[in-house]
């Protein structure tokens, strides 16, 4: 049986292609590897001459829901985590992605596309850590 409520291959593939298109555009036009944590990380603190393009890309990300609501019926997210969890989670994600030099987009998409063993290792590790964390939250705590 195919679970069509949770298995949404059409929008998933279309969304994936758009993410790939953004990565293609950035490397071909500007010579940068697309990665959300790198975009934001390069702004704290901003580096001379290197920050404007990052800020512009971040603004593009923030503007996306406005356009998404217009183009297709995009729904606002349901973020269930409480404030303490949001703060701890955010700190871990921010610190961890800088230490590892990449996140789901930088390692998980662009790194795999560059066939980088380092990014492959990072992707396997952060996914495993994510699986384990959700498992522990649901079954142990």
């Amino acid at each position: 049986m195919i679970d069509w409520i949770h298995f949404t291959p059409g929008s998933a593939l279309a969304g994936g292609l758009l993410i790939g298109l953004a990565a293609a555009w950035l490397i071909l036009q500007h010579g940068h590897v697309l990665g959300a944590s790198g975009l934001l990380g390069g702004l704290v603190p901003p580096r001379e001459g290197d920050w404007p393009w990052r800020a512009e890309a971040i603004l593009g990300l923030i503007a996306a829901p406005l356009v998404a609501r217009f183009l297709f019926n995009a729904h606002p997210p349901t973020i269930a985590a409480g404030w303490a969890m949001l703060v701890v989670g955010g700190l871990l994600v921010g610190f961890g992605t800088r230490l590892a030099n990449g996140c789901t987009s930088g390692h998980g998409v662009c790194g795999l596309a560059r066939i980088s063993p380092r990014s492959f290792a990072a992707t396997v590790i952060f996914m495993a850590a994510g699986f384990l964390t959700v498992f522990l939250l649901r079954h142990i705590l």
Partner: protein, 149 residues
């Protein structure tokens, strides 16, 4: 063109994240919680993105420079070292706690979601904290400034 282009890159990236459902933590937590349908969905997202990016990187590397005439800022680090392992573990735990990774979290701020804003603010603090700590020890600074993502 060059002025507006990074904004459009972010916009297209964000639209892809919205369309694929990655901006919805309940979906992402469903994937991390082991739901088979969600795993297949994420495989479509990543598969589509990786295939397009793969072709682009091939072309860019063959050209040797960007269309705007600059260098390619490709990551130089290759070692699977303690930093990569520890950083990815820490990131994965935070991802599992909330269901947001950096890109989707920033996009969700655009939905004017206070939760997302608090998460992104904490993320920026975590990044700043890393920068402060990394500036202290003996590691050469050049090693840290890599555009991996």
């Amino acid at each position: 063109m060059n002025r507006i282009s990074p904004f459009l890159v972010g916009l297209v990236f964000g639209l892809g994240l919205c369309l694929s459902g990655m901006t919805e933590p309940t979906k992402v937590l469903g994937f991390l919680g082991g739901g088979r349908a969600m795993k297949q969905t994420i495989a479509f997202v990543m598969g589509g993105a990786v295939v397009v990016a793969f072709v682009a990187f091939r072309i860019a590397i063959r050209r040797g420079s960007s269309l705007s005439g600059g260098h390619l800022h490709l990551p130089v680090a290759q070692a699977i070292d303690a930093r990569l392992v520890a950083g990815s573990l820490i990131f994965g735990v935070g991802w599992g706690l909330v269901g947001l990774c950096p890109g989707p979290a920033i996009v969700d701020v655009g939905y004017l979601d206070g939760h997302a804003a608090l998460f992104v603010l904490s993320m920026a603090v975590g990044m700043g904290l890393y920068g402060t700590l990394a500036a202290v020890p003996a590691k050469p600074a050049g090693e840290l400034a890599i555009d991996d993502g």
